[in-house]
């Protein structure tokens, strides 16, 4: 490997950044960009959470003044629902799980010095920041922000007169376009990096699973977003130019949008889910000191689920008015897709068998992910079966279902990753006392917020309504809405605990050793936080698979992936 050293400088990219501008604003170092994504995602999470607070208050005590927000009412409620969904999916989940985790981990776990295109990487981030700004600005324009649901179905979204929202919805579309561009470029960067920049010895069969998941997520996004961009252009034309792609009175077809949206939308939920699943799959072996069970199977499950996700989209449309004969084929593909995910869950449980399980914070979040995700996955079966979806579609059962899956990804998977990699990212340990408090209160309050929503959904409460008391069949169950909202106060309070912990630990936390968890993957062989260029003079060389824990006959219960001199230095 004589050619590694000469190219070092060429690959390293710009030298260590100095000065405020180069360090924070025009940063090209993947680790700084990862932190930027994390911060942006957390800020937008506060916004999205604030909107959900206003919604939940309105749902529990309709048409009363929401403390710290003001009066909600039906018009504002639609704005809240729409922007909460949009922000959470596109400006929280993706920035944190792909943007931050992907950027931080891909180079570190594959032994590269940075992403393949560092400047493009910075561009991706700033595009995302711009997109976030556009969403926020859309609240300020005359007519207010978008209010046609996060799915933006036309005709409602295609003409200002239907919602009373003019510029807000156009800006909303624009924000999506910018976000898509950001993650499209980001995805190209991820894939190129993974394909071309793996360290010597790091074959595909030795990649940590989260890298597989990030790569699959990037591919799903790249291949699914095109049709939705096409749809967004068409919708924008309908709104601005006066075409009629989606307007029946001008010869258009509203259903076309739904096909384009969900062709993207279903892969998109896996784009969010897979990186979270990946983080959890990294954490399980470390805290049970066992290899992950069935590495190859899990990789195949990921790929198969990804491929299947392109042929399930119409399960969101069983009762949409499409040809009802299409329902059964899509019901079958949908239900098939539960098999690879079941496999992943079983493999995770099997990984615990005969383990030596330590309930440290990252592991707690990872275990909770597994439980919550299983719950959300099982309720999905009700919705994947066309006849039972006739009843449940559009009710709070759906709201409960997708929050169990999405929140298990974003909150449980996200925190699992943050707690696990925080020492590497910030060079300090997160406080464990506050961490414990944060975990247990989140776990309990999350379930109290969302589990009862299954019931009220089954009782017939439809989604996206501002006032449940308008429905005679729901009014007797209103206590559920109250319980859910009160529990949300607990959920919010526990996130405050996290924020305090997060910022205080960055300043005052115990300095983190290089490898606090005695983990095997490459990122733990660099100092915490890793220096610019990650690896000093020589690139790491990989000698074995990623999860060699408790290997019989070894002197320690873990064998690092990295072989050679540098590995020895990395001892905790």
């Amino acid at each position: 490997m004589s050619h590694a050293s000469p190219t070092v400088t060429a690959v390293r990219g710009p030298h260590e950044a100095t000065g405020f501008f180069r360090t924070y604003l025009y940063a090209t170092d993947h680790k700084m960009i990862a932190r930027q994504y994390l911060l942006l995602g957390l800020i937008m999470a506060v916004v999205g959470g604030y909107l959900s607070y206003a919604m939940r208050w309105q749902l529990a005590w309709p048409d009363t003044e929401v403390p710290g927000f003001g009066f909600v009412g039906p018009e504002t409620y639609n704005v809240l629902v729409t922007n909460h969904g949009t922000i959470m999916v596109f400006f929280v989940a993706m920035p944190i799980l792909l943007g931050s985790f992907g950027n931080f981990l891909i180079p570190l776990m594959i032994g590269a010095r940075d992403m393949a295109f560092p400047r493009l990487n910075a561009l991706s981030f700033w595009l995302l920041a711009l997109g976030s700004a556009v969403v926020l600005v859309s609240f300020l324009v005359p007519g207010g922000a978008a209010s046609a649901g996060w799915t933006g179905y036309p005709p409602l979204s295609a003409k200002a007169e239907y919602t009373g929202v003019d510029w807000g919805l156009t800006l909303w579309l624009l924000a999506h376009a910018i976000e898509f561009a950001a993650f499209l470029l980001g995805g190209v960067n991820f894939l190129t990096t993974i394909v071309t920049m793996r360290a010597p010895g790091l074959g595909f069969g030795r990649l940590p699973l989260i890298i597989w998941q990030q790569a699959t997520a990037a591919i799903l996004f790249l291949l699914s977003v095109g049709p939705l961009i096409a749809g967004a252009i068409m919708l924008l034309m309908d709104r601005i130019v006066g075409t009629g792609f989606f307007l029946p009175e001008r010869g258009g077809e509203p259903l076309l949008w739904q096909h384009l949206f969900w062709f993207f939308g279903h892969p998109e939920v896996y784009v969010v889910l897979l990186p979270a699943l990946g983080a959890v799959l990294e954490i399980f072996p470390v805290f049970s000191r066992k290899p992950i069970f069935g590495y190859t199977l899990v990789v195949w499950a990921t790929i198969v689920a990804g491929a299947l996700s392109f042929i399930v989209w119409a399960h969101h449309m069983f009762v949409s008015g499409m040809d009802p004969r299409l329902a059964m084929p899509f019901s079958i593909t949908t239900i098939l897709i539960s098999v690879p995910f079941a496999l992943a869950v079983f493999a995770m449980i099997a990984s615990l068998y005969r383990g030596s399980i330590a309930f440290e914070l990252p592991m707690l979040w990872a275990l909770a992910f597994l439980a919550m995700f299983t719950t959300g996955g099982l309720t999905g079966i009700f919705l994947g079966s066309a006849p039972s979806d006739i009843y449940l579609n559009g009710t709070y059962f759906v709201v409960a279902h997708f929050h169990y899956t999405l929140i298990s990804a974003v909150i449980f998977g996200g925190y699992a990753g943050i707690y696990y990699w925080f020492p590497k990212m910030f060079g300090r340990m997160l406080g464990t006392r506050l961490g414990q408090l944060h975990f247990w209160s989140t776990l309990v309050s999350f379930n109290v917020v969302f589990f009862p929503l299954h019931w009220i959904g089954i009782a017939g409460m439809v989604r996206r309504i501002a006032n449940p008391l308008q429905y005679d069949m729901i009014a007797p169950h209103q206590w559920i809405n109250v319980v859910s909202t009160v529990a949300l106060f607990g959920l919010v309070a526990s996130q405050l605990v996290f924020f305090v912990n997060f910022f205080v630990s960055q300043l005052r936390g115990r300095p983190a050793p290089a490898n606090p968890w005695e983990a095997t993957t490459l990122e733990w062989t660099t100092p915490s936080p890793p220096p610019h260029g990650n690896w000093g003079e020589a690139l790491p060389v990989v000698g074995r698979g990623p999860y060699e824990y408790s290997v019989p006959g070894a002197t320690r219960d873990w064998l690092p992936q990295r072989t050679g001199a540098a590995a020895a230095e990395a001892r905790p």
Binding site: M1, H3, G187, V188, L191, V195, F245, R250, G251, G252
Partner: protein
């Protein structure tokens, strides 16, 4: 490090990275145009977008197709020149490609003008909506290609050329060409 260590692309240069990157990018572009074109085809099968090629200028479009195809040829020559280290050739052929792209855009603009003055605006019916959206998006891609090629051409003048970039721009340019090869028969002929 031992010589037996398998070598991975990890040390591959910018050229290899650029190529992998552009392929992934083009894959997503395929899906973008694929989504739009499928929507058009579905609308046509559903009967809502009758092709009105009586009102399109097929001859002019055919000439335009020829121009775009030729510019793909000059792009190939530009890359060949870059590979040979023939800077002058590279500049000349890049310049010709840029001219081809500009000519294409000019002719397209001429077509649009004719159609619009006859009342066939983007809101004149579903066919026209698709027509302007698809060819417009394609024209935007041509414009981006023209800018990229012009930048490379000027860069070469200043001695900044990196031959692999010509190859990347070429991949993109051929893609834009191929999209047109789908659009032309679909819009003008069928």
């Amino acid at each position: 490090m031992s010589a037996a260590t398998p070598t991975y692309a990890g040390t591959a240069g910018a050229a290899a990275r650029g190529k992998v990157g552009i392929w992934w990018f083009l894959a997503s572009e395929v899906m973008l145009f694929g989504g739009l074109i499928s929507s058009f085809v579905i609308s046509r099968l559903g009967g809502s977008a009758h092709v009105e090629h009586d009102h399109l200028n097929v001859t002019v479009a055919a000439i335009n197709t020829f121009i775009l195809l030729s510019s793909s040829y000059t792009m190939v020559e530009a890359y060949a020149a870059a590979e040979r280290g023939d800077r002058r050739g590279m500049r000349v052929f890049l310049g010709l490609t840029v001219l081809g792209g500009l000519a294409f855009l000019g002719i397209k603009a001429y077509e649009y003008t004719g159609e619009i003055t006859h009342g066939f605006t983007p809101w004149a019916g579903t066919f026209w909506s698709f027509y302007y959206t698809m060819t417009g998006l394609h024209a935007l891609h041509v414009l981006i290609g023209v800018i990229a090629n012009a930048t490379l051409c000027l860069g070469a003048r200043l001695g900044l050329e990196r031959p692999y970039r010509v190859e990347l721009a070429g991949l993109y340019w051929h893609f834009v060409d191929i999209v047109w090869i789908f659009l032309f028969p679909l819009v003008y002929l069928s």
